[in-house]
């Protein structure tokens, strides 16, 4: 059990003498949950503080308009929608594995997610890591783990389910101060995106 100092606000691992005080290393920064009617413009995190080392976005998402059982959403940093992104993915669709690479793209693949023809109440899940996001000497690197399963329903293997490992680069040394996540149509109600900050030592 951790103990918090009333004087400094810092946490200690215990009351034992000699234990170092510490502050939590993993903080919640902001959460967006799509409301009734959905969101046709995606969601955006703005004014991201530069005080963390890495960022992580976790959540669930579904779209309402795109025909089929699945679609995908993309990641854009600092409102840059020019061809400054590259990426790779390795995905399994229940029948085979496939890989793809793209350069000079206008965004980074964030996640596959369910769409209008997927079984009811079924959402895709994702964990997105954005590394060293505030560094101004490096291009920014993203990795994701994401997927959905539709219990075998769908016209094609990919419509029945997919699990994906992706990476991407934003070819910019600017610190990331905003992140936009948007798909080809409308994010469904109850889609949730939670942004966390991870501190270094």
């Amino acid at each position: 059990m951790a103990v918090r100092s009333l004087k400094s606000g810092k946490y200690s691992r215990s009351l034992l003498v000699g234990n170092n005080a510490y502050t939590p290393a993993y903080d919640s920064i902001a959460t967006v949950t799509v409301g009734s009617g959905g969101s046709s413009t995606g969601i955006q995190f703005t004014s991201i503080p530069s005080t963390y080392t890495h960022l992580q976005i976790r959540g669930l998402a579904r779209e309402t308009v795109t025909a089929g059982n699945y679609t995908s959403f993309y990641i854009y940093f600092n409102s840059d929608t020019t061809n400054n992104y590259s990426g790779h993915y390795l995905a399994g669709n229940g029948a085979s594995a496939s890989a793809y690479a793209w350069t000079s793209n206008s965004g980074i693949l964030g996640s596959f997610l369910t769409s209008v023809d997927a079984i009811a109440n079924n959402f895709g899940a994702f964990v997105i890591d954005i590394l060293d996001y505030a560094n101004t000497n490096k291009y920014k690197t993203v990795r994701t783990l994401n997927g959905f399963d539709n219990n075998g329903n769908g016209a094609t293997d990919f419509n029945k389910g997919a699990v994906d490992l992706s990476s991407g680069s934003w070819l910019s040394t600017n610190a990331i101060t905003s992140i936009k996540l948007t798909g080809p149509s409308t994010l469904a109600q109850y889609s949730t995106f939670a942004l966390y900050g991870i501190k270094g030592s």
Binding site: A2, G9, Y11, T23, P24, A25, Y26, D27, S28, I29, A30, T31, R58, G59, L60, L90, A91, G92, N93, G94, A95, S96, A97, I119, N121, N122, F123, G124, A125, F126, V127, L145, N146, G147, F148, D149, N150, N151, G152, D157, K160, G161, A162, V163, D164, L165, Y190, T192, A194, Y196
Partner: protein, 164 residues
């Protein structure tokens, strides 16, 4: 400043154990993360779960795997439990596999429950798994099952993550 990512429970599995249940999981977190570090007590090293003691055919998986030669993918629909890993965990003495599983928005009562995870088994390969539980019930318990038994030294920790 509150803790955002904190341990809920850790189980040190005893040799010969076949299953374990994380029960009375509080609904106060946004996501759960389960970190499993396991070795099998026999040749059957599969690793599956059930939520809330549901043994109906309400689970499905899509998996991606690679064993050092060619990658592949499988699907398992309308199952009575869900796979946490394709390759299972090692059976070799002193060799343990790692499985990290993310349960997103586990306590909401609107969506079916989807989990995603990655694992490595140094005897076999690496894999990624997505699983679906076709229920809108909040997850209040998770039971993990070994294909046969867990070996001594196997440890599983359940963490909770709170969003703002």
């Amino acid at each position: 400043m509150a803790f955002t990512y904190e341990p809920i429970a850790t189980i040190n599995l005893t040799a010969g154990a076949t299953n374990y249940t994380f029960s009375s999981i509080p609904s106060t977190y946004t996501d759960l993360v389960m970190v499993s570090y396991l070795r099998a007590g026999s040749t059957n090293s599969s690793y599956v779960l059930r939520f809330n003691s549901d043994s109906g055919s309400n689970y499905s998986n899509t998996v991606l795997y690679g064993d050092g030669s060619s990658p592949g993918s499988n699907r398992y629909s309308s199952q009575t439990s869900a796979y946490l890993t394709y390759y299972g965990f090692p059976t070799t003495t002193s060799t343990f596999g790692t499985i990290i599983t993310n349960f997103q928005n586990y306590s909401n009562t609107t969506t079916n429950k989807t989990f995603i995870g990655k694992s490595q088994n140094s005897n076999s390969g690496v894999d990624a798994v997505v699983g679906l539980w076709r229920s809108t019930s909040a997850i209040s318990s998770i039971t993990i099952y070994a294909g046969d038994t867990f070996a001594s030294g196997s440890v599983v920790t359940l963490y909770g993550i709170k969003a703002a």
